[in-house]
Amino acid sequence: MSGRAVAVVGGVTTKWGVRSATWPELAQEVGAALFRAVPELRAEEVDSLFVGAAEPERFAFQSHVAPLAAEQMGVRPHRILQRTELACASGQSAIRSAYAAIASGLSDIAVAVGIEKMNIPSMAEANSSMGCVMDRMWDGPHGATAPPFFAMVAQRHMLEYGTTEEQLAAVSEKNHRFANSNPSAQFHEKSFPRDKLLRLPLIAPPLRLGDCSSMTDGAAAVLLVGEESARRFTDTPAWIRGTGQYSDFHNLAHSGSLTDWVGLKTASREALRRAGIGVHDLDFAEVHDCFSISEIIEYEALGLCGPGEGGRFVADGRSSIGGEIVVNPRGGLLGCGHPLGATGIGQAVEVFHQFARTVPPARQVPDPEWALVHNLSGSANVHSLMVYQRGGAA
């Protein structure tokens, strides 16, 4: 890519799950973890802070969260301080904004942090908060939330291509297995073999509990710098080589084909073109498995397999270690949980540690050089992607 090269040179996550901690406490926790993990970083050097937070107003009754996060984390940004909100892709948006700021020269050392508190005393109120991601005035009164939308996607994929419940469960089984080697994952200690997944209760048919990512409290942060200072912080910078985004609707009436995700096709082609590689050059991908069916369609839209072949792709082990590409070695949203604003940052943290070879052996991708991170948001109406390359020269 042209312009100043930008790299992720450090990254941390808090424990994700049902946390006995408030939103500001999660911010303090992730700040403390970042400065422990990157001892070379001085707080006064952080000139910019981008805060991915999807719904702090709804879940924590708190607006103006960027200065709150800065105060909690112990930084005083003097170039750019802002919150990024793009529902489930709010964290990815923070990274894209930090990348643009550094590439342009406005920022030299930036932190992108994602923080979400989702477990609140009233589950029904939390469900309403998820519902207002949709077009609340028109789709909301019908009781639209994410599970029935992605259930309709799954129903169409089953109808058009013969995808099975067992293939959906194969996604969840794989990602939960990876999460078993990720101590920060919400479901780190839980085992979900396929036969167990197929006996879990239906949430929105055909989707069962194990097909759905959960309500999660958690935070994650990455440090981004320009090319001249990357080596100060790490021997294995994760260089941002490409990015892409596509948005095509909001109201569900305009969702078009539920199984052909044109937005992801377009955005991923753009991101890969900018990086100068093809999809088969990727060693691993962190994709947005908010529901099991999402990952299946993402294989297809990314071009890892043909239309309708996503179910077989995962069932045959082609997206696991030993297959053609490792997908979601971190454990995915299904295994790690999905604290909306923190998810995209958590995926970038995984990329950094995969490149640094500092993840547990059970989920270490062999000798990774290229990685892709994908987030969808809302009803898969927006797709945001980043392409990273390990080490090497700027």
């Binding site: 519902g131 009164p141 019908h142 599970p147 939308f149 949430i203 929105a204 109201n251 009436a253």
Partner: protein, 179 residues
Amino acid sequence: MSGEPPRPRRPGGALSSEPRPEETPKNPPVEPKAKPVEALPFLLDFFPLEGAKETRLSRFYERLREGRVSTTRCPRDLELHWPPRTACPKCHSEELEWTDLPEKGRIYSFSAVLAGAPLGMEAEVPYAVGLVDLEGAPLRLFGRIEGRAWNALHVGESVRLEPYALPDGRWFYRFRAAD
């Protein structure tokens, strides 16, 4: 609409507003289920305020009371909108006209909420929702599907688009499967 804006109340409540005698609805109004309710806080109520004081689309809700589910169309470029709009997204004209939507449609896809309903809708679980292709209009609408259990619905089957009254006097629309 006249007088005070209706207070937001959650659906499923005690009283329904009868249609005025001079109105002859195209579709008979559907009686709400009778159960005790409390008003939801304004910002947790998905059903919008419908009056001319609150929205420039109050005509949509007035037409619901007349038994018509309608939308806007741009007379300049004939673009049919959903949801109804105040400005055409194509030519940005603000001179739009109202037109009734077809009553019949076919299910393109559906599911049901068996858990995880928003506040105020918990008592309605399980409820079916779907995307429905309208017959005779290039529109696919999302909506609640009433009239049949979710596990007896089928992709491709015919459903009817109908207005219905909320217990507090507001109106909305949904689909109804044949008995």
